[in-house]
């Protein structure tokens, strides 16, 4: 469902993504992990067409995001790390607008999604008057309302209360069971471990490991949870970099 082929991205000579390749199947929950500045958000921004890769390509549901962006975007539900909402629209108006963009109506079934996220009583509030948490719920709800085949989430659990976090986890799990593909970047390792079928870890723009939580733990020689695996894999990378730096200095 998602195919990332030899993706490279440079910003003014700085390599942010280096030959990244990944494949995510239909109905798979895929977690994308990495330390800060590893290239997670850049990868997601390229996948959603917000950034252009220096080389390589991304194919979503058979559509190249560069050449068939409109077709690809139609099947994506995207939750950015810093979401944008029109402050002068009410929650209901914003939901209506997003549905209209996808050529859909805000019918009873889609209103149900708003209800599940507890947004019913906020429908006539301007989004600028809502709290940060409510705004995050609005973004999550509107990203799921058009029943996307591919759900891409960049740090979706930040600023969610525990109740909503549980709700989102359940919703995503249900969508995956229904055949949707979830691609989620997160720093919350426990959530990745709990939800993901497969996990990829990147550091310094390079893919350092990919597999099921079990496969990753075996590969790293860790006998603990994902936290231990993550630390081992990323520390190994840092140690390699350090020793390379020492060699260069010498």
């Amino acid at each position: 469902m998602i195919r990332i082929e030899r993706l490279c991205k440079e910003f003014g000579g700085t390599v942010v993504l280096d030959d990244l390749s990944l494949e995510v199947e239909r109905g798979e929950f895929f977690a994308f992990l990495g330390p800060n500045a590893a290239g997670k958000t850049t990868t997601i921004r390229i996948m959603t067409g917000l950034l252009e890769s220096t080389s390589g390509r991304v194919v979503i549901g058979g559509h190249d995001i560069k050449t068939e962006s409109s077709e690809a975007k139609k099947i994506i539900g995207y939750v950015p790390d810093v979401p944008y909402l029109y402050g002068k629209l009410t929650v209901g108006e914003f939901a209506e607008f997003v549905m209209a963009i996808y050529g859909l109506k805000l019918d009873a079934r889609r209103r149900e999604v708003l209800e599940i996220f507890g947004l019913q009583k906020h429908l006539s509030s301007l989004t600028e008057d809502c709290s940060h948490g409510i705004r995050q719920r609005v973004v999550l709800a509107t990203a799921l309302m058009h029943d996307p085949d591919v759900i891409i989430l960049d740090e979706p659990f930040v600023s969610l209360d525990p109740k909503t976090a549980i709700l989102v986890k359940r919703m995503l799990g249900q969508r995956v069971r229904e055949g949707a593909t979830v691609f989620m970047s997160t720093h919350t390792l426990a959530i990745a471990e709990e939800l993901a079928d497969r996990i990829a870890i990147i550091d310094g723009g390079r893919l350092i490991a990919v597999g099921t939580p079990r496969e990753l733990s075996d590969a790293s020689g860790s006998d603990g949870g994902l936290e231990d695996t993550f630390m081992r894999l990323t520390e190994e990378k840092s140690a390699t970099r350090l020793s390379a730096g020492e060699k260069t200095t010498k």
């Binding site: 440079e10 910003f11 003014g12 000579g13 700085t14 959603t48 067409g49 917000l50 950034l51 252009e52 220096t54 962006s69 409109s70 077709e71 975007k73 139609k74 994506i76 995207y78 950015p80 979401p83 944008y84 029109y86 002068k88 629209l89 009410t90 108006e93 607008f97 997003v98 209209a100 963009i101 996808y102 050529g103 301007l126 709290s131 940060h132």
Partner: protein
């Protein structure tokens, strides 16, 4: 080239709804606030209409050449609007199309590229043209009334202006899109180079405009020279000239020809713009940041740190932060550059002001008028640059609030820094203009003292009201100033400047007409009164502002 009309209609509905809700939210504002803003806007429009009316009437009163000059003025105004919209459109379209927060949201949606582009171009068009409406309505109305124009003048002018504005705006946006297609960002250095080039061109124009020796300043020679220098606006290839010809032309056929000329050019420009945007707009967006270079702190940064090291802590760090943020934000200093560019034109033009140097009346009058001009410039400067200082802390304000640093110190640093910078600038300009105008030494000294007091008062007023009426969620200084607090600063500043001018003029008026006391003694009394008034205007808002900062929770709405 196909624009998906369904997408476009959804986006237009969205913008209409946003506008409607924004207008409805005015209801939630306090009545006093709305009243002050409406009153101020009405006074501004009525005042500018009166000013233009008087100006045009004066020009028309010249025998023989009055009507010619009036026509030339209209031609010149239209040319100025055309250039203004073009430049403004380059900046606003780049900001709206490539740097707006909305672009990422729309780009991630299945909205067609051209629909996305069209809606944002319309937004940028409105942004770059609002000044035309605000300034143009009183100007063209005054012109039409003075020139006893027929109704058809207004109809053709409006139609012509609309076409001219779209042409200029498309041209400006095309420059932005062509630039962004290459994936380049508009850099601070380029803005500085463009501003410097504008100053050089301005200087050359002023040199050409010089009227030479006093002997050559007779009315007829002056008018001839003026007309000769206005000829550039007469170029028959300019849309501004076509709008002028359509509005003032004789036969209906001739007027229609120019309207068709404007609109054919307008549609051609739109076609060029949309051709550039098709396949290139989203590509430009997706390539943002490709050319970002990481830079280590340079010489300027080290120089700032060295300079501020003489101040006691934490003022050194606060001053360093303020200066570095200012220098690294082209949105702020580019407006400073434009402002001082205009000031430069004013100063350079003073050399051409012909007046009788031997008459004490003229000497005083010119000196006071210059003081008034300087004070009004200072008023604009402080409301535009000092008032938004606290609001510009924006989302970063929590850092200062939660630190052990006293917020009083933060506000006082902003006050003294603004006072020092604006004070040095205005004193330089005051001394320079006094010297160019050959103002007597004693009057120049009085002007300088009064100007220092004016800066003290206006900076205190702006910084103080900035803390009383902050707009923390906004990063754009021009939007921060456009609110209630900014309008209040402008109103109080204007009233204060009028009061100061009256206190300076009164001693001479009283001594000349009533023979009371010596003017020197009265002047000292006037300066003492100005000091007292300035102290009130500065200290009262500063005290209230400092007290408000003791409850910083009110700055965080969400």
């Amino acid at each position: 080239m196909v624009i998906a009309m369904s997408d476009l209609s959804v986006l237009f509905k969205l913008k209409t709804r946003v506008l409607k809700n924004a207008l409805l939210s005015v209801k939630r504002e306090s009545s006093l606030k709305v009243l002050v803003v409406v009153l101020f806007a009405s006074v501004y429009i009525a005042g500018s209409f009166a000013l233009f009316f008087e100006g045009f009437s004066f020009v028309r009163s010249f025998t023989v050449v009055g009507d010619i000059l009036l026509d030339k003025l209209l031609e010149l105004c239209l040319f100025a609007f055309f250039v203004m919209i073009f430049i403004s459109s380059i900046l606003s379209s780049y900001g709206v199309l490539y740097r707006g927060k909305e672009t990422d949201f729309l780009m991630a949606m299945p909205v067609s590229e051209l629909s996305h582009f069209t809606i944002l171009f319309c937004q940028s068009f409105i942004l770059s043209c609002w000044a035309l409406v605000f300034l143009g309505v009183p100007l063209f109305l005054a012109y039409g009334l003075v020139g006893s124009r027929h109704l058809s003048f207004y109809i053709f002018l409006i139609i012509g202006l609309l076409g001219m504005a779209v042409t200029a705006s498309s041209l400006g946006a095309a420059v932005s899109v062509a630039w962004a297609r290459r994936g380049r960002r508009i850099r601070a250095g380029w803005i500085a180079s463009a501003a410097l080039s504008a100053v050089v061109v301005g200087w050359i124009m002023i040199e050409r405009f010089s009227f030479g020796s006093p002997a050559g300043r007779t009315s007829l020679a002056l008018v001839n020279k003026l007309l000769a220098h206005m000829r550039f606006a007469d170029c028959h290839f300019l849309p501004s000239y076509w709008a002028y010809a359509a509005a003032t032309g004789g036969s209906p056929g001739g007027r229609l020809f120019y309207i068709l000329l404007i609109y054919s050019t307008c549609f051609m420009m739109l076609w060029v713009l949309f051709s550039l945007a098709e396949g290139g707009y989203c590509r430009g967006l997706a390539r943002r940041g490709d050319f970002i270079r990481s830079r280590s702190p340079g010489l300027a940064s080290r120089a700032i740190d060295n300079m501020v090291s003489y101040f006691p802590g934490p003022f050194d760090r606060l001053i360093s932060k303020e200066v570095k943020l200012f220098l690294r934000d082209p949105a702020q200093w580019s407006q400073y550059l434009m402002f001082f560019g205009l000031l430069f034109v004013y100063i350079a033009n003073l050399r051409n002001l012909p007046y009788d140097l031997d008459s004490i009346f003229w000497k005083r009058l010119i000196s006071f008028l210059n003081f008034m001009a300087m004070a009004l410039i200072t008023g604009t400067l402080t409301s535009r640059f000092a008032f938004p200082q606290l609001s510009l802390e924006g989302n970063r304000f929590w850092l200062l609030v939660t630190s052990p640093l006293s917020l009083r110190k933060v506000l006082l640093t902003k006050f003294w820094l603004s006072f020092a910078v604006i004070g040095v600038l205005t004193q330089t300009i005051t001394v320079l203009s006094s010297w160019i105008l050959r103002v007597p030494f004693d009057m120049a000294v009085v002007n300088s003292i009064a100007m220092a007091l004016v800066v003290f008062a206006l900076v205190g007023l702006s910084i103080g009201l900035g803390a009383i009426y902050p707009r923390m969620g906004c990063d754009d200084p021009s939007v921060i100033v456009s609110g209630f607090g900014g309008s209040l600063v402008l109103i109080i500043s204007t009233a204060y400047i009028i009061a100061v001018a009256a206190l300076l003029v009164c001693p001479f008026y009283l001594s000349s007409y009533f023979g009371l006391l010596r003017p020197g003694l009265l002047l000292i009394a006037g300066l003492v009164s100005i000091t007292a008034l300035s102290a009130v205007v500065c200290l009262v808002p500063m005290a209230i502002g400092l007290r408000r900062l003791e409850r910083p929770g009110r700055f965080f709405v969400q």
